[in-house]
């Protein structure tokens, strides 16, 4: 079985190298990479931790699709060579490993969970009030959604766009019944919520099957629309010459040129 693995470092020689890997029943792509490391190329770099699809470390592009290597069975891929490449949206470090530290910087910008002063619990929370949050909390931070998102991948707008992962994060905080902050304006102005044109590429690649677009991004867009585009509020702001209202006329829902990668 032929496995073609991207190898190289920035500024150095780069390209796919073909390895011959003996097939084993039920093997996943990560098994093949481990075989190569052990027997053929001890310095082949990849990230992995749990090998059980619970940590989100082994993200890569397999036959061109962002996936977890530990969860992608080779017998489910089409016949022929398997290609494994690093995430294209992030800077290469070496081989299959990219620099994803930007994501951790974004997370720092999002104000953490904050309950009301003095509201220290233990709390009574009905499950129905947090039911929709469980889905968001399943996120394993594999950053496949960030990788596939054309705003990051094709337009490199990391300076003005948080990306799907962090819209999920914000939605999880905003919808928590005990959280008292409002992060919607920040997510619009700094996080570029309006740049998302809901092509659902992120939802398609999510290994945890989180409905990122439908359940996180669209509700956030609706909250943003309520705050900025509600016509009655708009008129009220105009009448009061509320300086805060000026934000509503700036750059909202700007679309970058070009479409999603298809």
């Amino acid at each position: 079985m032929e496995v073609r693995v991207f190898r190289g470092v920035p500024g150095g020689e780069q390209g796919e190298v073909a390895y011959d890997v003996p097939p084993v029943e039920g093997m996943v792509v990560l098994d093949a990479i481990h075989h190569i490391q052990k027997h053929l190329q001890t310095d082949l770099a990849c990230r992995w931790n749990c090998k059980a699809a619970k940590c989100g470390s082994c993200s890569a592009e397999i036959n061109g699709t962002p996936r977890l290597m530990c969860k992608t069975r080779i017998d489910e891929l089409p016949e022929g060579p398997v290609t494994v490449r690093p995430l294209a949206a992030f800077p290469l470090i070496k081989d299959l490993v990219t620099d994803v530290s930007w994501n951790y910087e974004v997370n720092k910008k999002i104000p953490p969970f904050t309950a009301a002063e003095g509201d220290r619990g233990p709390w009574r929370i009905q499950e129905v009030d947090i039911d929709r949050l469980y889905e968001f909390r399943r996120c394993i931070e594999c950053f496949l959604c960030q990788d596939v998102c054309h705003i990051l991948r094709n337009h490199d707008m990391r300076d003005r766009f948080y990306g799907p992962r962090f819209f999920v994060r914000v939605a999880g905080l905003e919808m928590h019944p005990k959280d008292v902050l409002n992060r919607v304006e920040q997510t619009r102005a700094e996080g570029g919520l309006g740049l998302c044109n809901i092509t659902k590429c992120c939802t398609e690649v999510c290994p945890e099957h989180i409905h990122i677009t439908d359940n996180a991004i669209i509700p956030l867009k609706e909250r943003n629309a309520d705050a900025h585009w509600d016509p009655i509020n708009f008129v009220r702001r105009k009448l009061r010459r509320d300086s805060g209202g000026g934000a509503a006329t700036r750059g909202l829902d700007e679309e970058p040129a070009g479409g999603p990668p298809r």
Partner: protein
Amino acid sequence: MAEPYTTIDCDVLVVGAGGTGLRAAVAAAEAGCRVQVVSKSLLGKAHTVMAEGGIAAGLGNVDADDSWTVHFADTMRGGKMLNNWRMVEIYAKEVIDRVFELERWGGLFDRTEDGRIMQRAFGAHSHRRLCHVGDRTGLELIRTCQDKAVHTPGVEVSMEYTLTQLLGDGHHVTGAIGYDRNDGQFVVVRAKAVVLATGGWGRMYRTTSNSWEGTGDGAAMAYLAGAELLDMEFVQFHPTGMIWPPGARGILVTEAVRGEGGMLFNSEGQRFMLEYDPQKKDLSSRDVVARSIFKEVKAGRGTPHGGAYLDIRHRGAEYIKKKLPSMWEQFHSLASVDITREPMEVYPTIHYTMGGVRVDPESAATRVAALYAAGEVAGGLHGSNRLGGNSLGDILVFGKRAGEYAAEYAKTVGSAPVIADAQVAEAQSDALRFLAGDGDATGENPYLLHEALQDAMQDDAGIARDQQSLTRSLEAILELQERAKRMRVGGGRVLNPGWHSCMDVVNMLTVSEAIVRSALERKESRGSQWRLDYPDLSEEQGRVNYAVYRDGELMRIRAVPLEPIPVELSRHLEDG
């Protein structure tokens, strides 16, 4: 003369960024210290994410008569009374607050009808006690602690750094040296106090639920720095790991499957746990269930792939997908098995290490000044067998304590410690000797040595052991230690997993030697230690823990008598 390195200064160095490390970091920073967290992986990927079942805490939300005293008694009995009673007492009392604290930090739990935190049944817990969120409680815990830590002023995190050695003089630590995995450049962290939160060591076994990180770095570093390793013979086999396909072998199948009503069957359709433990049945303690599956397979009543069947179908598809979503997904994607329609095939897998660095129960201090250890890398809480759900609680309770006491100690240290250049240079050459550079790359392959070690541990120091097998295992380890000196890898220092593996192998060999020497010393069967040549409990050996320590180049072992349990606590052991 040392080659150039970066120096990081801090008050408290926290090694490891799982639940323990993050909780310790928050505690030390809140006490006013500058904290440096160093993590081998990216943040949020630590082994904590693999914990599935829940956090055991005597809240009594579901079974009203549960309390910390009952939890105390269950934990002591589960550990076959070899636990440090004071650690168990502190744990059972404080874990309740830690659960509420997690909720205050934004962590989610499943809820009861009246809106309180839901609790589920688990092996050898006499009451429904595990606070959980589906079957991904560990992920919830680490994500919550991660967000808390990165937003706590004073906490700095360095991701993808490996620390290779603690610095100090054998009685006192002053920091650690290691390298940035991504560029291979050396880094020295100067610290007034150090908290080891490096987790356990399962990678020296072939069938393991541990991630690559579980190589025992913390235990090996602590041992070399002068600390003692306690109860090392006790390695937990989780009764239910995946067994097929081959690549998935060892991946954990949460005990929550049995907590939610799953039952074990052999190939003849018999529910064998009714025989091995008629009272607790499928929810007996992990040592008992693992041995039972092992015996059934040995007796020729195993499944086609050599395990037992675990069946949860009777709970219905909707319930299974709500309570065990990641198990459904795991079997569906890796084994093409729909657990709502078919039984799972399972077999014991190495899961947890009860033993570890010997610490003071109050403060998590080791016998080396300025060095603290908490969570799985520390020993004492779980005795000879850990109950499920007691690990996620352990890491919060003792993570917090370690952080607080390390901070207190750090504040008594006036100025930043002085690091000797010679010590740095020596540690650097220790790490660099494995790189062939332009020279001859022929030497031992670290991956193949690792494989040989796994054979020695799995086959001869595994679930069932005796004098002969353990002696064989020790001989193999000592020989591998010699061969490990000749490990050589090609490639450079930039993100070179072969090179990193060399360091892992050295650590695993040290820790494996401690496991086997301790297992040889304990001539009885207790908890996870099953000696075929000594099948019974020994009253005499039940009064001691064994501690391994370094004497020059030699590994020595001594018996440490157990502290007597005070009357007001032993009273609780007689109840129920």
